[in-house]
Symmetry: C2
Subunit: 142 residues, 2 copies
DNA sequence: TTTCTTTTTTAGAATAGTTCTTGATATAAA
DNA sequence: TTTATATCAAGAACTATTCTAAAAAAGAAA
């Protein structure tokens, strides 16, 4: 058996996923905290405010389910804890080494992430993951 | 106190790092296994053949030291174990989802990794990390 | 509805990769 | 030499995440 829609508000974004209370809470929290690119524990902390009985395991489960359903994206930088992002457009991430914040970086108009790369002839690219490190405009001024 | 050179053969690549037997072994192994992009445990396994008394902790220490000295690079894909790479040229990594191998991908002539990206005005980029997932030419034929 | 089946949740145990701690060794400086 | 510093080895500790098993919830069938 599989997915049924229960919540019309988010159904379209959930790709026909069964929408439980927990998934809804986790999804909302990821959206609210989008700018922070929260880790699983950060989502957990916030989610508990809305639903005190939710467990960390459930937060992990929901994040995985939502990721698999392409409702959110998992963002990894080095070996740090994964962060989660509701931005579904192709984009890169910029990590400021000074303030530790994460910014979404869009592609230039009509640009392609694999553009500068001399890909092996005949390879099939599913996904290009781009992470940048540096100092953000705010921190450069300090 | 800091670095002294002991091994003229690799000194240039080690950025003036104190060259101990262990670091030398680890460095050699990473070079030998470059095509495999070995993990720390893979390096450990091979290093033990050359130096049976070496410990896993030491392999981790050496890999970190060599990485900090820019003699090798640490490569991360998702949350998998880190891999290590002696290729110091700017390059991306391509991960074949079928055969699990990793390929180095070079930049096109005069191209820049940050080219397609609309970076925040005034930001300073230290490092651009590019990882691609897909199916390699070999696996596509199967 | 009531019952049956499947999915999801919870809590805690387990795991994997990595880092830390401590005492022993080795290397360099004086 | 003697002294100071850096590195090593072994194993314990840590952290993010996944797994396990039992309870709860959701949906389907009757």
């Amino acid at each position: 058996m599989k997915e049924t829609l229960t919540d019309p508000l988010t159904a379209d974004k959930m790709g026909g996923l069964r929408m439980t209370k927990q998934r809804q809470v986790v999804y909302e929290v990821v959206q609210e905290m989008a700018m922070e690119h929260p880790t699983a524990s950060a989502v957990y902390a916030k989610a508990k405010e809305l639903m005190p009985t939710i467990s960390l395991a459930t937060v992990y489960n929901c994040l995985e389910t939502l990721t698999d359903a392409h409702a959110i994206t998992q963002v990894n930088i080095d070996r740090e804890a994964s962060r989660f992002c509701p931005n579904l457009q192709p984009h890169a991430h910029f990590f400021c080494a000074k303030c530790d914040s994460v910014f979404d970086v869009d592609l230039h108009h009509k640009a392609d992430a694999s553009e500068p790369w001399n890909l092996p002839e005949g390879s099939l690219i599913d996904e290009v993951n781009v992470a940048m490190r540096g100092v953000c405009p705010n921190c450069r001024e300090d």
